[in-house]
């Protein structure tokens, strides 16, 4: 027998009204503006754009506000929004070599061409809570320094590449797959792995990257370079047949240099992992580059033993919208499922009791 249950409409409406009230909080305190969120919680906004896989700071700020600061909920909102829009086309691949650099550091060369530019970093802060920030004390304008000369900021990888000491970028041709359009079937190419990692949960990616450092996988890495800055976006206008600049986006790129690979035919050279993420997020970009390298195990004939080397494991569990959907669906009504299991447990117990009773009679 199936019994349809209705009800809860009033409870749901009132719950949403309560949510709106709690989101707004004390009415004597001014409401947050989207400009405040985008401007002062910009790294939260960046994370929502990266994992929401939609570059739009204003929408991401709105999502953060609507989600009461629950970033995974905000990411969910952004993902849902993107499904309502048509896709006009594809941009030309960004040229990170021409990034307008806001931060750039290398752990492999101290005096590299272009230099070490710290930018707005948390590094070297003491991680002591600053009571002054509880108020609204005036903040100094940043220091400025005239540019000595228009100095090129070559990619660190290119320095090693000139000597043939590191693997190159590989063939620049090819049409990448798109996991938002086509079902994924394994094994997948690096293009799909990089797409999945770029939008994967930061915590998941971080934990996997960390696991490779602790021995679950074979990565012995150096940060060749991390760079953050603005890159131009160019698209082709179909009616015109040429590409035009349509704006710029802030990206974080990490070039991870990993241990060498060589053979009888080929001299040993460093291998690489790559990370590229929307916004300013070097933790995510670095973790992504570690996992990208770990996932290339087959290319280098490495044994695949650790979770970070298992592409199906990484790709199927890295998406926090999918993950939260499946975990959180457990709280939805499972009354009938549970009733069936309850009946089953009762029957099992009854049957066992009966068997015990029968055995008891036999032994007596």
């Amino acid at each position: 027998m199936y019994v349809a249950v209705k009800g809860g409409e009033a409870a749901i409406a009132n719950a949403h009204r309560l949510l709106a009230d709690r989101r707004r909080g004390d009415r004597d305190v001014p409401a947050l503006t989207l400009e405040q969120i985008a401007g002062q919680l910009s790294l939260a906004v960046d994370r929502v754009m990266a994992e929401g896989s939609l570059y739009d700071p204003d929408l991401a700020a709105l999502a953060v506000r609507q989600a009461r600061g629950d970033l995974i909920e905000a990411i969910f909102l952004l993902r849902a929004y993107r499904t309502t829009l048509p896709r006009f086309g594809y941009a030309a691949p960004v040229d990170t070599g021409r990034m307008r650099i806001e931060r750039r550091v290398s752990a492999t060369y101290k005096d590299l061409p272009g230099g070490q530019l710290l930018g707005p970093t948390f590094d070297y802060t003491h991680r002591l809570l600053d009571p002054a920030l509880a108020g609204d004390a005036p903040v100094e304008a940043p220091e400025r320094r005239a540019l000595a000369a228009v100095e090129d900021c070559p990619r660190v990888i290119d320095i090693l590449d000139r000597e043939g000491l590191i693997e190159g970028d590989g063939d620049p041709a090819g049409e990448p797959g798109d996991l938002t359009r086509d079902p994924v079937s394994y094994p997948v190419g690096r293009d799909l792995r990089l797409q999945a990692l770029a939008r994967a949960d930061e915590g998941f990616t971080l934990a996997l990257g960390y696991s490779t450092q602790r021995g679950y996988g074979r990565v012995h890495p150096f940060v060749g370079e991390v760079r953050i800055g603005l890159v131009d976006v160019e698209v082709e206008i179909p009616d015109l047949g040429f590409t035009v600049r349509i704006g710029a986006v802030r990206l974080t790129e990490c070039q991870m240099v990993a241990q060498f690979k060589g053979s009888a035919e080929e001299p040993a050279r460093f291998t690489r992992g790559y990370g590229l993420v929307f916004g300013q997020s070097e933790r995510k970009a670095m973790a992504m580059s570690l996992v990208d390298r770990a996932l290339r195990a087959d290319e280098f004939g490495e044994e695949r033993r650790a979770p970070a080397q298992d592409e199906e494991f990484v790709l199927e569990h890295g998406d926090n919208v999918q993950a939260t959907g499946f975990v959180e669906h457990l709280k939805l009504p499972h009354y009938v499922d549970f009733q069936a299991e309850l009946d089953l447990v009762r029957r099992l117990r009854a049957e066992a009791g009966q068997r015990r009773a029968e055995r008891g009679e036999e032994t007596r």
Binding site: M49, A50, L54, D58, L59, R82, L85, P86, R87, F88, G89, Y90, A91, V94, G97, R100, I101, E102, R103, D111, Q116, L117, L118, G119, E143, R144, L147, G168, D169, G170, P172, A173, P176, D178, L179, T180, R190, D191, L194, Q195, A198, R199, L230, D232, V233, I237, D239, L240, F242, T243, V244, R245, I246, G247, A248, E253, Q255, Y274, L276, F278
Partner: protein, 152 residues
């Protein structure tokens, strides 16, 4: 050759119109188009997405990085010139203005004026913003000092 120069000039102008600060575009547009032939909407402005791409390792095979919101518009002048605009974000007014200016740019008598009064100030504003950021970043450059120990 002339076609190539024309294409390059238009590319540069469209890029400038898309990337200049929205406030400056609106202000320049109002001034320049006060006496200009009006634009008829052909398509949009409409908001959609473009998929941004990166390259494995920075220079290798392309991969899909994630989408960005864009707004696009196509307009036509009474004399037949068709103007296009595609701009990151969702500001429909901006796309309409940029498309109108792109159409006008194709008219020889308007081109000089748009170049001088919109494109040039637009590129200058962009350069200035880039320089501001670059100089702030430059102040965070690490100057290493080498300590010499011993006699030689």
């Amino acid at each position: 050759m002339i076609d190539e120069m024309e294409t390059e000039g238009r590319r540069r102008a469209m890029g400038a119109l898309a990337c200049m600060p929205a406030g400056l575009l609106a202000q320049r547009y109002a001034e320049v188009t006060a006496s200009a032939p009006p634009a008829l909407a052909v398509r949009g402005p409409e908001v959609g997405l473009v998929m941004l791409r990166g390259r494995a390792g920075g220079g290798g095979a392309p991969f899909n990085l994630g989408e960005a919101s864009v707004v696009r518009a196509t307009v036509r002048l009474g004399s037949g010139e068709v103007g296009h605009a595609v701009i990151l974000g969702r500001d429909t007014g901006r796309a309409r203005m940029a498309a109108h200016l792109d159409a006008l740019w194709q008219c020889p008598d308007w081109r000089v004026r748009i170049e001088a009064e919109v494109v040039a100030p637009g590129l200058a504003a962009e350069d200035e913003a880039v320089l501001d950021r670059a100089e702030e970043t430059e102040a965070t450059r690490v100057d290493f000092f080498t300590l010499v120990r011993g006699e030689d």
